[in-house]
């Protein structure tokens, strides 16, 4: 970050400082113009009136939205636990010495990495009931999300395991551990520590995915907003508040991921371990959603 800032410009001289000041003023004017335009747009349609925002200072409305948030958290937690466990198994499968296992796990990951979660949700909503598999509402959301997120988790775990120095595995084998033991006692503990930031980032993606509850009619946060707005007719207010809640929760998680990343950087800096091959956190690059 600091490095990039310095790359493209020197310490500003008098003329550059003047230009920076001008750009700042211009930027501020454009920003202020956008805010004014937005406020006028709200005001001219009567959406700024106090009584259209007042409900969001009352407890019953917040209790309803927070109940929705709790449902989001529960769905996200269930999805996270199940898809992380499944993802780990798939990653181990892809790295296994047995060809059929490698092939099956690879096929699963490649298929579900490139099929949209919404399509899987439609399958659980409209296809599976015909074959007598009618899950409760909660699982209609969680099962498809687990299926698609486990593929993403598998790729994260695999990248992390492969990024670990081979010498670790070789040393484990040299002291007489079996392959399974090497994986469980030597490789995984180190890989997981390295992967913590990526896993937390994936958690943000997964929490965002639970908004698909909107399609399933599972009353998580977004669908709660929908239900609420159909009662109160406060459409834009409700959805802005819902967006704000998502923003606060996810930004905290992202921040946590960055803290973990910085801490890992310090740890590995001291021990000089290889980190270059790790998937960078907070980008969609490695974990296709």
């Amino acid at each position: 970050m600091n490095q990039t800032r310095q790359i493209l410009f020197d310490e500003p001289g008098p003329r550059a400082r003047r230009r920076i000041r001008i750009a700042t003023v211009l930027g501020a004017v454009v920003l202020a113009g956008a805010v004014v335009a937005a406020v006028r747009q709200f005001a001219s349609h009567g959406e700024l009136a106090a009584e259209r925002w007042e409900p969001f200072t009352t407890w019953p409305i917040w209790r309803y939205l927070l109940t929705g948030l709790w449902a989001t958290v529960r769905a996200a937690a269930a999805t996270a636990v199940l898809s992380a466990a499944l993802g780990l198994l798939l990653a181990l499968g892809r790295l296994s010495a047995r060809r059929p296992l490698r092939w099956a796990a690879g096929a699963y990951v490649e298929i579900f990495r490139t099929v949209p979660a919404l399509l899987l949700i439609y399958v659980t909503l409209f296809a599976l009931p015909q074959y007598g598999m009618n899950f409760p509402l909660f699982w209609k959301l969680v099962v498809p999300l687990v299926v698609s997120n486990s593929a993403a988790f598998a790729e994260i775990f695999r990248a992390g395991i492969l990024a670990l120095d081979r010498g670790q595995t070789e040393a484990g084998l040299a002291v007489g551990l079996r392959r399974g033991q090497v994986m469980a006692l030597v490789v995984l503990p180190q890989a997981l520590l390295q992967l913590a930031p990526s896993l937390v980032s994936q958690l943000v993606g997964l929490l965002k995915d639970t908004s698909l509850g909107f399609v399933v009619s599972y009353t998580e946060l977004l669908y709660s907003g929908q239900v609420l707005s159909s009662y109160t007719h406060l459409l834009i207010q409700t959805f802005l508040v819902v967006a704000l809640i998502y923003l606060v929760v996810n930004a905290s998680l992202s921040k946590f991921a960055r803290v973990l990343q910085a801490r890992n950087g310090r740890l590995t800096g001291r021990r000089g371990r290889r980190t270059a091959d790790l998937p960078p956190p907070l980008t969609e690059g490695t974990t296709v959603r």
Binding site: R5, L31, L119, F214, Y246, T283, E284, G285
Partner: protein, 214 residues
């Protein structure tokens, strides 16, 4: 299998809509991504803050919440577009944040000496970005950008939730008529996999042609 052949035109329309949405959005998101990445490395603190805020907000909101906000709520303050346009704007804005981060990562890989050399021969910020930094930075992140494009393809399916009849919605409609879920949804899934495969192949080709081996 009948369901697929008798409703080929509906599914075909859906597929075309998905492809259109993906192409339009990719171009928009790419331009936006370059613009935001530029903001984030600009010498002006305010512009950097705007770029950072954009990325933070858009990466931490669910795409579906943005779509719902844009399609259902904005008309109440008099802002509305055709459905396809709305979906394209929102998805481009959302993926633009991810692309901006990928591009910024690419810019970070360009050696400091390159930028210093560019400044030494008298290029301005914009010139050194356009002629020296971006051409190298973008080449370093072709693979991540390709992965984001595949994610974008999958995310276009969310437009179905606000009423755009693209591939996912078309498949669902056909299934509701024909009640042949296995054939219909497998077909749609295969179409998505094929599109993702094409994006992956194009990315691989570009990577081989353009990437700089350091």
């Amino acid at each position: 299998m009948d369901a697929l052949t008798t409703h080929l035109s509906e599914l075909g329309h859906g597929l075309v809509t998905t492809v259109e949405l993906t192409v339009v959005t990719t171009v928009g998101a790419m331009l936006l991504g370059i613009a935001v990445a530029t903001l984030r490395i600009a010498p002006v603190p305010l512009l950097r803050a705007i770029g950072t805020a954009y990325v933070e907000v858009l990466q931490n909101l669910p795409l579906l919440a943005l779509l719902v906000l844009f399609v259902f709520a904005l008309p109440t303050i008099g802002i509305s577009f055709p459905l396809f346009t709305s979906a394209a704007i929102v998805i481009a804005a959302y993926e633009g944040a991810y692309l901006a981060e990928a591009i910024r990562a690419g810019i970070n890989t360009v050696g400091v000496g390159q930028a210093e050399a560019a400044r030494a021969i008298g290029l301005t910020f914009g010139q050194s970005l356009r002629h020296v930094i971006l051409p190298q930075g973008l080449r370093a992140v072709i693979q991540p950008i390709g992965n984001i494009c595949i994610a974008l393809l999958m995310n276009t399916s969310l437009a179905a939730a606000v009423g755009v009849v693209e591939l996912t919605q078309a498949a669902n409609n056909v299934n509701l008529l024909e009640a042949q879920p296995i054939a219909v949804f497998t077909g749609a899934g295969l179409a998505y996999m094929l599109l993702a495969l094409i994006i992956g192949q194009v990315t691989g080709l570009l990577e081989r042609r353009l990437a700089i081996v350091r």
